[in-house]
């Protein structure tokens, strides 16, 4: 009997254990052994990691794994250089360089596709304060965020009032600025690589700002799938950025959300078009981008007319506090696919060869 493949899940910092537990269980389901480890615990020939035994995490010394599910994704970052060097010969599903796909870059790529670009939000990289002001005048409601930033951190929202003043929210406080003060602010943001985006008022009938997450993942057959869709709401109505740390975030089931927001059911028109968009976008980015990735988190908003807009397509580490099982099943299946590919165990179509029944 062949030994079971050994999957290592690589982390760069502490993460909630629910995620690793879900991955460990997914590995059992696909017939693989599993441990997780921190990049700092990689030795020259072994790794100190954690293995789930009888639902308890036990620390042990392991051999290098056969394949890695990279949950660090900092390749090329000096801090993690040593880890990637040591594990050079172990196959991984994610080979993109760290933060190589900033928001602007992804946005500009999507601009190249007639269908996909219909859902792009008007956007500009801040290069001149005056042009930034013109953008604010044109769109009235604008969000400013750093390129490459995450979790809505350091994001500001601006609303141009009829009297020509600007109301600025930093998610905690509201400030009132005149034109000159706004220009000064924009000037200061240019070196920090901020970009401006038209603000989409994505609000539930109850007044909660929200965004939708469409999680797109490769599966064990190397195909893109959508393992889950979810909604995130800001339960504080004055906080307009749903993924900020300052708000109280909530969610509902996807089914309840579809019903309350659109009066639709799962499998209905909105649900289906979000899925199609996610699949198409992932396939498109895969073709355009040199370097591999197998998970894409699309964040979308919906305006009052029901049109959806792409806030962000994240190629980093899309995660959810609720759907670890849904995400880890295809992720681990794909990781095993990568191992088979590495070992040359795929058939002519690139599909895993069917195992003989015992």
């Amino acid at each position: 009997m062949n030994p079971k493949p050994l999957i290592g899940m690589m982390l760069g910092w502490p993460v909630r254990q629910d995620l690793m537990r879900a991955c460990s269980l997914a590995a059992s389901h696909y017939g693989a052994d599993f441990y997780f480890f921190q990049t700092r615990d990689i030795k020259e020939d072994t790794i100190i990691g954690m293995r789930l035994e009888d639902n308890q995490w036990l620390e042990k010394e392991f051999r290098y794994p056969d394949v890695i599910y990279d949950n660090t994704r900092r390749r090329g970052n000096p801090l993690f250089k040593e880890a990637y060097r040591k594990l050079e010969h172990v196959p991984m599903g994610h080979t993109l360089r760290s933060r190589s796909m900033g928001k602007t870059k992804v946005y500009n790529m999507i601009r190249g596709d007639e269908e996909l670009k219909k859902h792009l939000i008007p956007f500009m990289t801040l290069r001149e304060a005056e042009k930034g002001w013109a953008f604010i005048e044109k769109h009235k409601r604008v969000i400013l965020k750093p390129d490459g930033g995450f979790m809505g951190r350091d994001a500001f929202t601006l609303v141009l009032k009829k009297n020509g003043t600007v109301e600025l929210s930093d998610q905690q406080h509201l400030h009132r600025l005149d034109r000159q003060q706004t220009l000064d602010l924009l000037e200061g943001m240019i070196p920090l690589k901020y970009c401006a985006q038209k603000m989409i008022r994505s609000v539930t009938p109850h007044g909660f700002p929200f965004h939708i997450r469409v999680h797109v993942s490769k599966n064990g057959q190397n195909q893109w799938t959508v393992p889950y869709k979810s909604v995130t709401m800001s339960l504080m109505t004055q906080v307009k950025v749903t993924n900020s740390d300052f708000t109280y975030r909530g969610t509902s089931t996807w089914k309840d959300f579809l019903e309350h927001q659109f009066g639709e059911d799962e499998g209905g028109p909105t649900d289906e078009s979000l899925k199609e968009y996610g699949l198409k976008l992932a396939a498109f980015l895969e073709k355009k981008i040199d370097g591999e990735f197998h998970e894409v988190g699309l964040d979308l908003g919906v305006d009052s007319k029901g049109k959806f807009w792409l806030f962000e397509a994240g190629l980093g580490l899309p995660r959810s506090p609720y759907y670890q099982m849904q995400a880890s099943l295809p992720a681990i299946a794909y990781t095993l696919y990568v191992l088979k590919r590495h070992r040359g165990e795929l058939d002519e179509d690139g599909q895993p060869m069917k195992e003989e029944q015992e």
């Binding site: 269980l25 389901h29 789930l52 539930t204 509902s252 309840d256």
Partner: protein
């Protein structure tokens, strides 16, 4: 090599596929084979069920399983009698009769425990205006429900404000003076209302909430807290969380603790809740004779962090978000029950 144990999950009706999938994954982790089936699929010697192969549910004909995770829990109810008869002898973790642990029975059991009964919400059957007035005066805010009332329907809330009784029927506010009370009492009595102290379990943003603590037996036959989840009523001005028109939401346990009390996971409140919940599960088992493997406690928490028990569910608790957390101990316990039957453990 020993054959792997075979677990069957028994369903009485259609449910979303997430929980069976989580159970299949949990079974794989515990080294067991798994299929789920509907009662209609039980034949004399085999069962038509579904098995998860890689990512697909595949229909098949299976032998009777070695142990059953009963997700129907309707033993003793006529419609299901045939199924339980056929599967007699196969160990199951849940063995009590369907709906035998109803609300009032559980309430009465808890009343007998001095410590745990402090979390029970005071209530009274509406009989006369004097005792009702005394009850309202003692508790200031009171909710009226009908016995057997479903999902907060017809619930009324009453608040005593400067000698005026304000009654809210979820649509209109009515004012009564003390002199009106006999008339009001008669009305409530006629409709068989009972009065309950109103628990202010509301987020700073104004959303009524409850905390669900899901308790489960694990592979060592011990009660454990499988997960905490939050129920939020996101529709404004509806005071009763599970009334029909509400938009039900949730947040993570950690975000809730921080937003509500400025506390962290594993902080003092978290530990106090877990301690309470585990004591409750152990007590309920001991006092009722057991025969159940999962208990769902719905708790309210007031501004002074006092724990109030809205409901202790010993029926068929589910979850919209934490299927894996639920399945892991449930499947482990199912295997424990099998080992026990085979005499492999004490």
């Amino acid at each position: 090599m020993n054959r792997k144990p075979l677990i069957g999950m028994m369903l009485g009706w259609k449910i979303p596929p997430d929980l069976p999938r989580a159970c299949a994954v949990a079974a794989a982790y515990h080294g067991a084979d798994f299929y789920y089936f509907r009662m209609s699929g039980i034949k004399e010697n085999t069962i038509i069920g579904m098995k998860l192969e890689n990512d697909e549910w595949v229909s098949g004909e299976f032998p009777y399983p070695d142990a059953i995770y009963d997700y129907t829990r309707r033993r003793g109810i006529a419609l299901f009698a045939e199924a339980y008869r056929k599967l007699e002898g196969i160990p199951m973790g849940h063995t009590i009769k369907g709906r035998s642990m109803n609300k009032s029975k559980v309430y009465r059991i808890i009343q007998r425990n001095e410590q745990l009964s402090q979390s029970l919400i005071p209530y009274m059957t509406v009989k006369d205006s004097d005792s009702l007035m005394a009850f309202i005066e003692r508790h200031e805010k009171v909710i009226f429900k009908t016995n057997g009332g479903y999902l907060g329907k017809n619930a009324l809330t009453v608040e005593l404000k400067n000698d005026v009784i304000e009654l809210f029927d979820q649509q209109y506010l009515h004012r009564f003076s003390r002199e009106d009370l006999p008339r009001l009492t008669e009305m409530l009595k006629a409709k068989k209302y009972f009065a309950q102290k109103m628990i202010h379990s509301v987020t700073p943003q104004g959303h009524p909430f409850h905390v669900r603590v899901h308790l489960s037996k694990n592979g060592q036959n011990r009660w454990t807290v499988a997960f905490h989840s939050i129920g939020l009523s996101l529709t404004p001005h509806v005071r009763v969380t599970n009334s029909e028109s509400t938009y039900r939401g949730t947040s993570t346990w950690g975000d809730f603790l921080r937003n509500q009390f400025g506390e962290k996971e594993d902080g003092p409140l978290h530990l106090r809740i877990d301690d309470y919940a585990l004591r409750m599960a152990n007590y309920l088992e001991e006092a009722s004779g057991g025969g159940f493997q999962e208990v769902a406690l719905d708790l309210g928490l007031d501004d002074r962090k006092r724990i109030w028990l809205f409901e202790a569910g010993i029926g068929l608790p589910g979850t919209s978000y934490y299927q894996l957390q639920m399945a892991l101990p449930a499947i482990a316990y199912t295997l424990y029950v099998l080992k026990k039957q085979r005499g492999e453990i004490e």
